[in-house]
């Protein structure tokens, strides 16, 4: 029971990197170097954590050496470790991608500082074992994301940023309200301890259903689930592409992770109601996302609506809360983080190169960018979940779980949504890379070697993940176990006399 520093590294490295960058002032080159080095360090520490967790099981650190139910604990199980690793990889390539795309002005105004603070908050939210600290880390990354969404101060950023901040402030206030209810019911804030208390309780905890609804309201707003996704298409349209990569790949996923964590640990009293509600909302999210993805020709909008579809699919797996469902949800979560980053980067490259966001005004780009074109095609297939790409395994497990639970409609909606995803993104590919040649003299001479490097690297990471999915299966099984068998999450608590 000592304060082990290793689980804290993914939170501390970006945090201190951000502070160092603040102190050395407006020097974009130094910022770039520090951001890259610290992302590499996070990757190393995350790999180390994955290996350690695989060998020894869940790692827990108790800050200030308080005995577990009291004080603040950082708990890294396999789910958190894998999410930390994925976040770190995405951060590294997004930072490299930003060198040539974010613009020197934004770099001078502490863009990398905010990226590092945001990663610090995201990693904290993944690895904390204390529900109030989850709120604090949510606020840390949200505050950084408010700056990222408005940094640069163009009109659209100010308008959409204001709405984004307002929506998130209100939902954060409700998070505190939910915490207040939870604390008054259970008298504890440690997530594992709350689970242990609620599980051993014989009587009726029907108020927990109310708390479940409040928490779902909060996390659904952050994750963009059906009735509360209204802000997402507008707000994500505003920031420049590298910020959008981070938002699309990471922020909604933190909301999903929080839903999965709280719904597996706390809301075990009235599962028929809470998880059924989650399933219905997830299905509605898939349908609304599909409608949005089909109805626009704007590339940015199409992929933004694809975020919603992915959120829905993962939550279908989460709401099943059995082994196959959780396994599928977790495969799909990791896969979606990687492939969304890759796809956003590739679309960002097209937008920077052509200065157009509407796919119908492009055409024939395969003649100039053949490799990029085929990488885009691979990313499309991977997004839709064509085997051997990793999305396939996630969907397979999710659909299998829905069928074994007699939710045939849910399974069919998930399957049909794959076709919608494939159609909506292949449409970008067909109209931008094939078709009639556009006026190639309109292309902007952008320096693009790092843009291309980062986006290809993300696609290759995705392919490698797909090919290695079988080898990684034990890790994912461990990760899924702490959700469908929450007792395994809370076994780091000592027995209380």
């Amino acid at each position: 029971m000592t304060t082990n520093i290793l689980p804290l590294l993914p939170i501390m490295i970006p945090f201190f990197a951000g502070i160092i960058m603040l102190f050395i002032g407006r020097r974009p080159l130094a910022h770039r170097v520090i951001a890259t080095i610290s992302s590499l360090l996070i990757i190393i520490s995350a790999v180390w954590l994955v290996v350690l967790v695989y060998q020894n099981g869940t790692i827990a650190t108790f800050l200030g050496n308080w005995a577990p139910p009291f004080g603040i604990s950082v708990v890294i199980d396999m789910a958190a470790a894998l999410l930390l690793l994925t976040t770190a990889i995405i951060t590294l390539f997004t930072v490299i991608y930003s060198f040539q795309s974010i613009g020197i002005e934004r770099e001078k105004f502490y863009y990398y500082v905010m990226v590092m603070f945001m990663i610090s908050g995201v990693n904290g939210a993944f690895s904390t074992g204390d529900i109030f600290n989850m709120f604090v880390f949510f606020e840390v990354f949200l505050l950084a994301s408010y700056v990222l969404i408005t940094l640069g101060g163009t009109k659209i950023q100010l308008q959409e940023g204001f709405k984004y901040i307002l929506v998130n402030m209100i939902s954060s206030n409700f998070f505190v309200l939910g915490l207040a209810y939870l604390y008054s019911v259970t008298g504890s804030l440690n997530m594992a301890d709350i689970h242990a208390k609620l599980e051993g309780f014989e009587g009726n905890y029907s108020i927990m259903t109310l708390v479940a609804v409040v928490f779902l309201f909060v996390f659904a707003t952050k994750a963009g689930v059906f009735p509360l996704y209204f802000w997402l298409p507008g707000s994500y349209y505003a920031p420049p592409m590298p910020a959008l990569v981070l938002f699309g790949a990471l922020l909604t996923k933190v909301g999903i992770y929080a839903i999965a964590r709280t719904y597996s640990l706390f809301f075990i009293d009235n599962v028929e109601f809470t998880h059924q509600m989650l399933l219905l909302l997830a299905l509605a999210t898939i349908i609304m996302g599909s409608i949005g993805a089909l109805s626009y020709a704007d590339m940015k909008r199409i992929i933004i609506y694809n975020i919603l579809i992915a959120v829905g699919i993962i939550l279908v797996g989460v709401s099943m809360m059995d082994e196959a469902g959780m396994l599928g949800a977790f495969y799909y979560l990791i896969h979606d983080m990687i492939i969304k980053a890759a796809l956003f980067m590739l679309v960002g490259f097209l937008i920077y190169r052509t200065g157009e966001t509407n796919a119908e005004r492009l055409g024939g780009l395969i003649k100039i960018h053949p490799v990029t074109g085929w990488m885009f095609f691979i990313a499309t297939l991977s997004l839709a979940g064509v085997p051997p790409f990793p999305g396939f395994y996630g969907k397979l497990f999710i659909v299998q779980s829905t069928f074994t639970n007699d939710n045939y409609i849910a399974g069919i909606i998930v399957l049909v949504s794959s076709l919608v995803v494939l159609y909506s993104v292949v449409r970008i590919f067909i109209s931008a890379f094939w078709g009639e040649d556009m006026d190639f003299s309109r292309l902007k001479p952008v320096k693009s070697d790092k843009l291309i490097f980062a986006s290809f690297a993300m696609v290759i990471v995705s392919i490698a993940f797909g090919l290695a999915a079988d080898a990684l299966y034990p890790l994912f099984e461990m990760a899924a176990q702490s959700f469908y068998d929450p007792a395994s999450y809370s076994n780091y608590l000592p027995e209380v006399e």
């Binding site: 505050l143 700056v147 408005t150 915490l179 209810y181 505003a238």
Partner: protein, 113 residues
């Protein structure tokens, strides 16, 4: 005592909703500040209001008050304070940039077609 604070926090949240439904940016920001006040009061109430007890567990003390809600509220207040400061600066900047403080006129994303 708990009943009074709960009603008070309800009033605060109600007025916050009223303020946030208006068009002016400043009124919306005041609404969010009121909302966070109401929520913090609720958090304080949820730890039970007791007077005159010490907040530490000791062998002689059988009746102690809970120190945790205060600690949580301090954190939440600091966060709400930072957010309010940020959104006020943003409101000033967007007023200068957009020339309006009416949210009806802040329709950001251009529509294609």
């Amino acid at each position: 005592m708990e009943l009074i604070t709960i009603i008070l926090s309800g009033i605060l949240i109600g007025s916050a909703v009223y303020m946030m439904l208006s068009k002016s940016v400043i009124r919306i920001i005041i609404g969010t500040a009121l909302l966070s006040h109401g929520v913090h009061l609720m958090l304080l109430t949820m730890g039970q209001l007791k007077r005159g007890n010490i907040p530490v567990l000791d062998e002689e003390v059988s009746n102690y008050s809970d120190p945790l809600p205060q600690a949580l509220i301090l954190t939440a207040i600091v966060i709400a304070f930072a957010l309010t400061a940020y959104i006020l600066v943003l409101a000033l900047r967007s007023y200068r940039e957009l020339g309006t403080d009416d949210v009806e006129q802040m329709k950001g994303v251009p529509h294609d077609d």
